[in-house]
Symmetry: C2
Subunit: 215 residues, 2 copies
Amino acid sequence: MDKQPMPPDVVVRRLPLYARTLSYLQQEGKKSVSSQELGARINVTAAQIRKDLSYFGQLGKQGIGYNVEELLHHINRILGLSQQWNVVLIGVGPLGQAIARYSGFSEKGIHIVGLFDVDPKKIGTDFAGIPIRHVNDLPTVAREHTVRMAIVAVSAEHAQEVVDLLVKAGVEAILNYAPVIVQVPSGVWVRHIDPVSLLHSMTYYLAREAPVPPS
Amino acid sequence: MDKQPMPPDVVVRRLPLYARTLSYLQQEGKKSVSSQELGARINVTAAQIRKDLSYFGQLGKQGIGYNVEELLHHINRILGLSQQWNVVLIGVGPLGQAIARYSGFSEKGIHIVGLFDVDPKKIGTDFAGIPIRHVNDLPTVAREHTVRMAIVAVSAEHAQEVVDLLVKAGVEAILNYAPVIVQVPSGVWVRHIDPVSLLHSMTYYLAREAPVPPS
DNA sequence: ATGTGTGAATTACTTCACAGCG
DNA sequence: CGCTGTGAAGTAATTCACACAT
């Protein structure tokens, strides 16, 4: 059955994980997978996978499982990854540089079209084949390349102002590496990457020899 | 009331965020905060903050709010951040280098005591003042420095084997940057950092002009 | 007044369990 | 049979709403 209700965000957040795992399975030459098998790879129950996928239609075959290639393509289509997404990256410090060089983005529908900074020594040069411009040029570049997403890799102090500029330039989705929760108007999505918090949440358990963790 | 039940993991994962925000408030000279005010900074409801904190005791004062410095120290103590945690970082590529240089870890109880790689050109040299060793030396270093946590910044292909080595060396908590879900025996914690998946989960919404996002 | 702490109510998410298709 | 798709049941997380302390 086609599902009317919007899938909850938890489900949407799991889709990329399914997609990636399917692409690994494909590389391994697997033709089909059961929810069971797929789940085992990523520590998710079979029922959860079936429920999740059922939001988007009847993607599997009873008695057989899911066709790896088909399902992969289907999920990619659902995620909007049949098209390329142009993104800009703000902040070309060590972290920004590592991100700019990382091939994992470009492989999968994400195309970094511009790097931005405020350091005069950097502006005008190229990094990883991408020109570094001044943040003031954001609006122009965003317009020219129809940029709807951005990656923020500036310090905590500058993150909010950078985000404000991005929003003004029409950016609707932001991946923020800075250790602050940034505020955005409704209609704009933000996701945070926060390694320090993740580590700190683990020290909690180490500090008290807590019992068996979940997945 | 002191709470018997273990706080759920969701709550533990929010604590570092509260702590960080409190430390910003402290830098701004704030002496006390209400759950309202704290919540507004990080897009969490006031009720949620009060509930979360109540797992750990009665930390606030009715009619007043929370004392910033006190609460900050209290949360840090809860998280086990009154002590230093020695961690090792595996993988000294561009990402590993960015992580090694990042001061945000060391500022907050996390001390990187060793870098590991397999590239003979790197082994024996220093990076950011930390010696780079061969992964085979992991057990020794882990023992000498009582290392219980690790950061994995190797490729997807090598992540699982590196994790296996870490587990064998006695590491109990792992922050994994590689785009695979790694398997660990029970008793070991893993948290994943996955920027590509986060971006892909946002393209979902951009691709269909979905209505107002949540926080 | 102001703002916490917390049971109760609500909402969200996950798992169960089974009908039904290949 | 094997394995999906899915209502129903069960858990978990969040929010409400109010007694009570300052």
